[in-house]
């Protein structure tokens, strides 16, 4: 059974002008020890999915439909006190922007200890001290730096400290929201390597959120491509890269420059992502799609397996049942 199963997740934000459909009918599964990449541009609902998983949505956000099954238990139905037991111990999150996610007036060790203490109140001070040192060592920070403040750390070290903190209560699932963004390439490569190693060592399941296809290509076994709040393509990383089915994925791959291989002309997708307050009728990608047909403007396609494989696409180009 998958550790995490998301079914028909629909999260909207209430605004004065109506519901913003930030996340609409999102489905995916993450197995034990597997990393799933959630890829899309800014404003496509990636972070909303992440926040929904832990029910950390801002007050305007509502999960209006769907189920989030963590080891078979539906998180959507849980009360606040129940979900608090899942957070950090079951599912932990590394937030976007390592620079701002740490509290500047507390020592790194105190911030990690706090996480341990909340979830395991009986742990003694020396034990938690040892745990903090072990965690820091695991992410490659010298334990003598435990009593430093965040401003004494470089960007890469802060990101490492955040990873250590997320792992403080031995979670089963780690949600990483853009862990490499805002870091320099070399540091980013170090952090990604660390995450890959930790995943193998601790048999972690990961939901890896990124806007960068090349980062998830290296890190994840499975991919979900999001566009305008919906998952438009879902499958093994290898098959998505080898044979992208959805026109949006095809466009994204064409827009990505590579340092290897031939120097090709970059092609972009004309137009811009829609306003999620009033998404286009039918397929949400239809105003930008090069293969648009009449049916695309009327009927919202379902996400279905193509050629009986486990590679799914949400597109009228493929038979809808």
């Amino acid at each position: 059974m998958p550790v995490l199963q998301v079914e028909h997740l629909t999260t909207n934000y209430k605004t004065l002008r109506g519901w913003v459909q930030a996340c609409d009918d999102v489905n995916f599964e993450v197995e034990k020890g597997e990393a799933m990449g959630l890829v899309g541009e800014s404003g496509c609902g990636k972070t909303t999915v992440a926040l929904s998983l832990l029910k950390l949505l801002p007050s305007a956000g509502r999960i209006r439909k769907g189920r989030i099954l963590f080891n078979g238990n539906d998180l959507v139905k849980m009360s606040d006190s129940q979900i608090r037991k899942i957070r950090w111990k079951g599912i932990a999150i590394i937030f976007q922007g390592a620079m701002n996610a740490l509290n500047p007036v507390f020592k790194i060790s105190d911030q990690i200890t706090e996480a341990i203490k909340i979830h395991e109140p009986h742990v003694s001070r020396t034990q938690s001290r040892e745990r903090v040192e072990a965690l820091l060592e695991m992410v490659g920070i010298d334990k003598t730096r435990a009593n430093n403040y965040p401003h004494e750390f470089s960007g890469g070290m802060r990101q490492r400290a955040l990873i250590a903190m997320a792992l403080a209560a031995n979670p089963e699932v780690l949600v990483a929201d853009e862990p490499g963004t805002a870091l320099d390439v070399i540091v980013q490569a170090q952090i990604l390597k660390l995450l890959r190693e930790l995943k193998d060592k601790l048999n972690l399941s990961m939901v890896f959120i990124s806007h960068d296809l090349s980062i998830v290509a290296e890190t994840c076994e499975k991919l979900a491509i999001m566009y305008a709040g919906q998952v438009v393509e879902y499958g093994d990383t290898k098959s998505v890269f080898a044979k992208p089915l959805h026109p949006y994925t095809q466009g994204l791959l064409g827009a990505f420059p590579s340092i290897k291989g031939e120097r090709k002309k970059l092609v972009s997708i004309p137009g811009q992502p829609p306003d999620l307050l009033m998404p286009p009728t039918g397929c949400r990608f239809n105003p930008r799609c090069p293969y648009v047909m009449d049916v695309c403007k009327k009927v919202d396609p379902k996400i279905l397996p193509v050629d009986q494989s486990n590679h799914l696409a949400r597109c009228h180009l493929y038979p809808q049942e």
Binding site: E41, I186, A189, Q190, K193, S214, I215, E218, L266, P273
Partner: protein, 368 residues
Amino acid sequence: MKFGLKRSKKEQQSSSSASVEGENTRPEAKDMTQIPSEYQDAIISARGLKKYFPVKQGFVSSIVGQQSFVKAVDDVSFYVRKGEVFGLAGESGSGKSTTGRLLLRLTDITAGNVYFKGKDISKLGPRALKPLRKEMQIIFQDPYESLDPRMTIKEIVAEPLRIQRLAKTEEEIEERVKQILTEVEVFPPEEYLYRFPHELSGGQRQRVAVARAFVVNPEFVVADEPVSMLDVSIRAEVLNSMLELVQKHQVSFIYITHDLALARHVCDRLAIMYLGKIVEMGPTEEVINNPLHPYTQALIAAIPIPDPDYRRGNLPISGEIPSPLNPPQGCTFHTRCPYAFSECTRNEPPLLEVEPGHWVSCHMIRKQ
């Protein structure tokens, strides 16, 4: 010089030889060993360019101690030909943006010279610079901040024309604005003239910023990370229409970026910067496919590849870029270099031409 810096011998030589100001500044014979003849017919060139920012200090150390400096740009020399796209790449804090601003004289130069069409502009005052501003322009990184939210698109694009008095009548201004907006594919221009920046998407905003830079027909443009704030699906489009303008008007273009994969698709020549110095410079394909400096090699090895079958080897270097306040002695890269030997900790390696047009600053290269 401004802060009473101790100048190195080398720098004194170069600045004395370049002190002959005027139209025909030619490097003297002894400089020719370091500086290729291309510098003479370049549109813009920098020689021995330096920018040291003084660091704020506490009260006591400001009296007792010595003033310390952040060496943001430290002895940088390069040139850009007519119609050429020159890339400045490096990590954050490597001094690439400061270099761009120094060339445009938006920041005061500590030492060194900037030549624009053969004329030394490094010591010109604001009044003398004003007519030059129509020939050199900049495109900033963030279109959400670089456009005045209270000005209409027309006013934003027309402002350089008004300041430089390049159009006589209001009709002419509108005509020029419409024309340039069409060229950057903000289409149809009539629909956008009286809109405000907040009504436009990020991609359109950056196109307006491009239009504002190109409306005065500049000969030299600096683009500081022009597409890093944009989404991938629209990035290529903005970039392509910018490059079309560059080609059409034969503009000398400096493209500042941290993204080598993108730089490869944009630039004719590429310079890699590390802690205020150029460590490698050459034709783009040459630098990317045959990197000679260990830092360039590491940078390229660290770039993620959009191919799930690609397996990354171990990273050749560890750690992060040291503080520019206290850069390492000798070669600034030796603290992270896997090949560092005793020479590297003592002497700074000169930038040498290893193959035609391919310059590297590394002791390893000299040894061979």
